[in-house]
Point group: none
Chain length 213, copies 2
DNA sequence: CCCCAGTGGATCTGA
DNA sequence: TCAGATCCACTGGGG
């Protein structure tokens, strides 16, 4: 991890001090085998207020575009008066302005992460570095294994479990499918819409999984 | 704004109660002239702990990919012991697991927002709705909203999710199976033992699910 | 999600 | 060429 010289000492310890991050408008730079070049911009809440006014921000945003992924790490918890005025600054900074700024960042494609303290930021950064080094991320697609009434699942339970991985099928409909086809639904390309509980829409959704559009 | 019926009353007041958001794996749905269909998933921190090992969550995540933009709104501030254990739950939930989950979400293309309380969430949501209604957002036109494979590829993800419901198949082998057969026209009665990573034993186990003993 | 243990697949070895 | 031994990737269970 490369750290900008402008960062406080505690954070400099996380990696090699270098001015390269600044070329990308970032404070930290991590290179990942999977996600490419990732830049992190750390902003304390008080700086953020300035940024939202400033036009310096637009320059930073533009240089961050060259990164594969750009992260904004926002440090500190905002406190608002009942009228939605910021409690941590003199200037006229409101909740809606703050949120608007965050929305803008998000929808521009920046990743947003937040911490409370600089210590937390440090921990987050090293966790992120470790995470980004990994060659493989299991992702979101896994499923737990079937579990039967008495621990070990039998064949039927496996089949129900398996089928209930289709969109629109829970265990009830999966069971209905199984009963309808009288066993494993060998007709994966058949018409499922006749199965009680499965309608046209669900059947269509499932068909797309098997056959494509 | 459409609000899922499962949300607490305070948040239901924000819009029209409807079950449509749930179809997209979301709790709230906002349609924007600029950004298209935006879904928001609200998660209290305590729920998040449970979610991390839930089969439902992965289905929700896949469903959310049909949205133009998917937001995760995380409610609550995590507190960690000096060893990195969560202070708000009994289970063994660690900072690194929590962060890993957030990183996964971010790099999968989900937008991350956080609040402290449900009240804050309400304010954020109405601010977001207002913000999304605007036709034009001045300020920086930064990164292209590079969505890449987002929004269309969910079919493959469904397939992986589905196949990994078979015994001996996780997301890795499920993907290998898809690649081997060149898509979903699976030869359910064919020989799977040739799939790289799937051997004789696993293939036999799977065959039994399809064909019986 | 992370961590860990056990299973089973892939690879290597030697005759 | 193939059985057997070794290694390592992946699954599966738990937190």
């Amino acid at each position: 991890m490369l750290v900008s010289p402008a960062e406080p000492p505690i954070l400099k310890e996380l990696g090699t001090v270098s001015s390269t991050p600044e070329k990308y408008g970032a404070d930290f730079l991590i290179s990942s085998p999977v996600y490419g070049l990732v830049g992190i911009q750390r902003k304390e809440l008080s700086d953020l207020v300035a940024s939202a006014h400033d036009d310096r921000i637009s320059r930073e945003l533009i240089s961050m575009k060259e990164l594969d992924h750009a992260i904004w790490l926002i440090e500190g918890t905002p406190q608002w008066s009942s009228e939605g005025q910021s409690m941590w600054t003199r200037t006229n900074y409101t909740r809606s302005r703050h949120l608007g700024f965050l929305f803008m960042l998000s929808f521009q494609g920046f990743l947003l992460l937040s911490t409370d303290t600089i210590t937390e930021s440090g921990l987050l950064l090293s966790a992120l570095e470790k995470w980004l080094q990994k060659e493989k991320h299991k992702g979101i697609n896994g499923r737990p294994t079937a579990r039967g009434e008495w621990g070990q699942a039998d064949e039927r339970e496996w089949r129900i479990h398996f089928l209930s991985g289709l969109p629109g099928l829970g265990s009830t409909r999966a069971e209905a499918v199984l009963d309808y086809f009288g066993g494993m639904p060998l007709e994966v390309h058949g018409d499922w819409s006749e199965v009680p509980g499965v309608g046209k829409k669900t059947a269509e959704q499932i068909r797309r999984i098997f056959d494509g559009n």
